[in-house]
Amino acid sequence: MKRSNTFLLTMLGFGFAFFYVPILSMIVYSFNASRLATVWGGFSTKWYGTLLSNAQVGKALTLSLEIAVISSTTATILGTMAGIALARFTTFRGRTLFSGLVTAPLIMPEVITGISSLIFFILLGQYLGWPAARGFTTVTLAHITFSMVFVTTIVQSRMLSADRAIEEAAMDLGAKPWQVLRDVTLPVISPAILSGWLLAFTISMDDVVITNFTTGPGTTTLPILIWSKVKLGVTPDINALATLIVLTVGLCVLAAGVGMNRAERRAERDRRLAYRANQ
């Protein structure tokens, strides 16, 4: 038993080194004074200066945030509706097609989603005159479509594990179905809605492939800007940008994780206290 544990712990250590050495190396090299991105030439923070004085980066970041906020909010509303529909309405016309439509975007290769959206928007523009050009609107529409199904998955599984008795109690007390939804169901699934929003936001902020197909000249999101630079090779200012992004996201996720861990422990303690008080 002991020997097998040593092996497993060694593999864990190796795995975490594999996860984090590339990222740490990138962070270290963002402080490289040399213009050659992979040869160490002394410590310097000059690439951060270069980065901060680059107006393109700021513009791309603002654009990405705008698209991510609009698309993830819309995707959360639509995705939550779809999750509620699939979890609560077991029979309606076209349910099989609907559940297929909700699963398919999850496993569809991004290239295909990207190309089909692009062809769709081009043909729409050609025959209906809208959208006249590709850019902010088309990117946002595409982001909503492929991120809403992630929200649906999260909301649906939360709905299925939620206690239906509370909803039935509200119904027995005379609440109309719509009031039950507003006053009981939505508050119960609100944590799932929040994590759905966060996931949709992250997916939108991170997307390269679908954005690359649906965007037009002048609409350069942050990932598209990085993509166009990275295709040419490793540069020190991208190392600096990557470091800032990784550290920002990492700290946010860590803070959220620590917060959730603490809330979970508090809930556990409360439950134990309540149990003891009832004895």
Partner: protein
């Protein structure tokens, strides 16, 4: 009037109808257009396709080229081999990690799990980029590998640096790096639920630790292996970003071929035919995944 309609039936129609119509317009119709496009004929008009000429409605030339032009067959083979390689390596690295996670105590476990998920929340593109920095011929990592290689092999095989970048190996390595969490998480969820008393019973009956693993743990974790495997294989087979950045451009993967046919060659019907063929190839793995996922969820609901 409207309020009454809303309270009686309208709200449920809205909850079903809005997302339904959205997905029909922005997902199903574009997808059907691609399927239809794959039977069209390439023209020099804008948009560059049409129906007419020798094959007015159904032109199977694109599908015929899939089998006659070796470019496509090679691209499909490269994609499937790379995705399968990434899946197997993810399993070999991810399985011991997932099993190891079930053996550390609770407090540490949550921290380590978070460290597994953390890279997933940071930018995908930047994780690929991090490896570009490591694999370049002047990087410390490449120098380390080169030194190791030159010590281990006979003098005649010595190299100035290991050619990592722009190879299929680089593609598989980076795929393993970016998709490993998809393997670890379902495996961990599966392994964590196993009953430890079964292990103890096997041990009491005289099994050695490896035999316990082979006869007790491994068979019970097959649903987790399949779920994780498909979660790695499906996106890896259609991957575009990784092969574009670190792959060998003379042996492209299928995602790259679709994108090039579409953008550079402006052959929409051919790009669509390749896309449809990729989806048909993916149907098998997707159905396996859906089956096991449905079964796992049913079990969870019972518990």
């Amino acid at each position: 009037m409207i309020a009454r309609w809303f309270h009686r039936k309208g709200w449920s129609d809205l909850v079903i109808g809005l997302p339904y119509v959205w997905l029909l317009i922005f997902f199903l119709i574009p997808f059907l257009i691609v399927v239809g496009m794959s039977f069209a004929t390439r023209t020099s008009t804008a948009p560059p396709f049409g129906f007419g000429g020798e094959n007015p409605l159904v032109n199977l030339a694109g599908y015929a080229r899939l089998f006659s032009d070796t470019l496509y067959i090679r691209a499909f083979v490269t994609s499937l081999v790379n995705a399968a390689g990434a899946m197997v390596l993810c399993l070999l690295i991810g399985y011991p990690m997932a099993l190891g996670l079930t053996r550390v105590d609770r407090g540490w476990r949550n921290i380590l799990l978070m460290l597994v998920i953390l890279p997933f929340w940071t930018s995908f593109l930047l994780r690929v980029y991090a490896w570009m920095g490591l694999m370049g011929s002047n990087s410390w990592f490449n120098k380390l590998l080169t030194a190791g290689w030159n010590i281990l092999v006979p003098q005649a095989w010595a190299v100035a640096n290991v050619p990592l970048m722009h190879s299929n190996f680089a593609v598989v390595l980076v795929m393993v790096y970016t998709y490993l969490p998809f393997m670890i998480l379902p495996l961990y969820a599966n392994l964590e639920r196993l009953d430890p008393t079964l292990d103890e019973a096997a041990m009491d009956l005289g099994s050695r630790p490896f035999a316990v693993f082979r006869d007790v743990t491994l068979p019970q974790s097959i649903p987790g292996i399949i779920a994780g495997g498909m979660l790695v294989f499906i996106p890896a087979a259609g991957e575009l970003v990784i092969p574009t950045l670190v792959g060998d451009s003379s042996a492209p993967m299928i995602g790259r071929v679709i994108s090039d046919e579409f953008s550079s060659a402006r052959d929409w019907p051919m790009a669509s035919a390749v896309a449809v063929a990729l989806l048909i190839l993916m149907v098998g793995p997707m159905m396996i995944y859906a089956r096991f996922d449905a079964r796992a969820q049913a079990r969870e609901r019972q518990a």
